[in-house]
Symmetry: C2
Subunit: 261 residues, 2 copies
Amino acid sequence: MCITTLGRDFGPIKLSNALKGAQAVKTGSDNHPRAADVIVAAIAARIASGELPDKHPLPAERDLMQEFGASRTVIREAISALSNRGLVESRPRYRPIVRKPDYETVLHATGDVVRHLLADSGGVRNLYRSRIFIERALVREAATAAQKPEIELLREALRLNELAIPDSNEFYRTDIQFHGVLYRMPKNPIFPAVHQGYTSWLAPHWEKMLRSPERNQVNYRAHKSIFDAIIDRDPEAADEALTNHLNAAWEYVRVTFELDE
Amino acid sequence: MCITTLGRDFGPIKLSNALKGAQAVKTGSDNHPRAADVIVAAIAARIASGELPDKHPLPAERDLMQEFGASRTVIREAISALSNRGLVESRPRYRPIVRKPDYETVLHATGDVVRHLLADSGGVRNLYRSRIFIERALVREAATAAQKPEIELLREALRLNELAIPDSNEFYRTDIQFHGVLYRMPKNPIFPAVHQGYTSWLAPHWEKMLRSPERNQVNYRAHKSIFDAIIDRDPEAADEALTNHLNAAWEYVRVTFELDE
DNA sequence: TCCCTCATTTTGGTATGACCAAACTTAGAA
DNA sequence: TTCTAAGTTTGGTCATACCAAAATGAGGGA
């Protein structure tokens, strides 16, 4: 049992200043001598080196505190930081899972902040405009340099999209897939990650939109004309088709949400 | 004074299961009934609403614990989370400063993870390739639709770049500025943020590279040909000039660091 | 023998309370 | 009035404790 005074610790104790400056040679960073940071760095290094393999659980907090000679408070703070940075994935009562970062992780970690940025309509608009910008470049590239296998992937995605016209949910899914093929064409893992970012960040707006086989039909035709322009090796036409398609979609969202511009 | 047993708390207590499920109606989220999350959300909301204005300090931890009726542990965890997400900026011993997120904040918050991704040469290459991809689209856009004021900005940046040829450090800076004008042209805050991401992430590689007035001269001429193509309204030429410029730069880095491909 | 159930042990989530040192505030000296 | 020193917050850290859910293991039924 523990018998203590109930008072808080607002009583200052004045025997300080004796051995000042001897505490933190740890971080090296000028302005961040936090103990947790060292641990974050150490664990991050282990993850990077593969010593803590992907998908494996982190050691127990109580083990870590022994290992690093730190209090549980600090360990938890470190784990929290790792989690927020996306290096580990921590569900509420489970062992945090190591997650070697990939570009999707980065996007995922930022998701929250981005959602904040989208609070005002201008944010959504900017994000969407950037998406148009990227995709225009993607279809141009596709029209210029797409190889047969990629074309076939796109054709297949288009076919599935057509089949899904009657089912709006399925159409939504295949729609994303179709655009996803575009993002995979440059064979650069960054682009699919960006695509996932776009779809997940814009999803709240898109999903609330009313859908219908008629709308789906319109969108499918847009996809088809993009595809046709690509196999025709006509970047200008592809660019224009894509631009029209996405602008029309934006217009639809704009009206639905009664945004300003 | 406090008289306690020295043993840790590994003694399990077995009178559980009685009032289970009565702890956390708070978060609403299925899998994250963490107390800290509620507080994070609450504070984040205040920041978004402007109740906690940008650049103002957060309330003291001890005040927050009263306000939310939570322990200091939880408050700290919440603040740590906010900090990692870039919503507040916390220097070691100072009051955390509220920081309304912008796109640069997002990039900044991810910086660490991205640096991890760049550990292997493939990461750098992918990032750089994505940069080429974006900038190609940017110069195309510029050549197609740039207005006079923007052209003048670009001209000025080019002029400063030329003046800086003898001074490699200055040249490096004006080089970045020149490209920066390109990123600002679409009038979308996302692009400058991306540009900053590129420059800061790639900086470790670029800065170590040996520079010389001769190299600067080459790069300046590349910038000039890009600029010329833009004022000629020739997207193809601009695209090609930019591609050559960045590929040459990559080649230079590749050789310097003896990367694989 | 194998699967399911239940008791036991770990382990994450949270709360207290305490102490230090650096930042902040303020009152008094120059 | 300005500078300085004392006093007061306040962030960083530690140690301890308890709860409840997850993980584990032992025993019983199919």
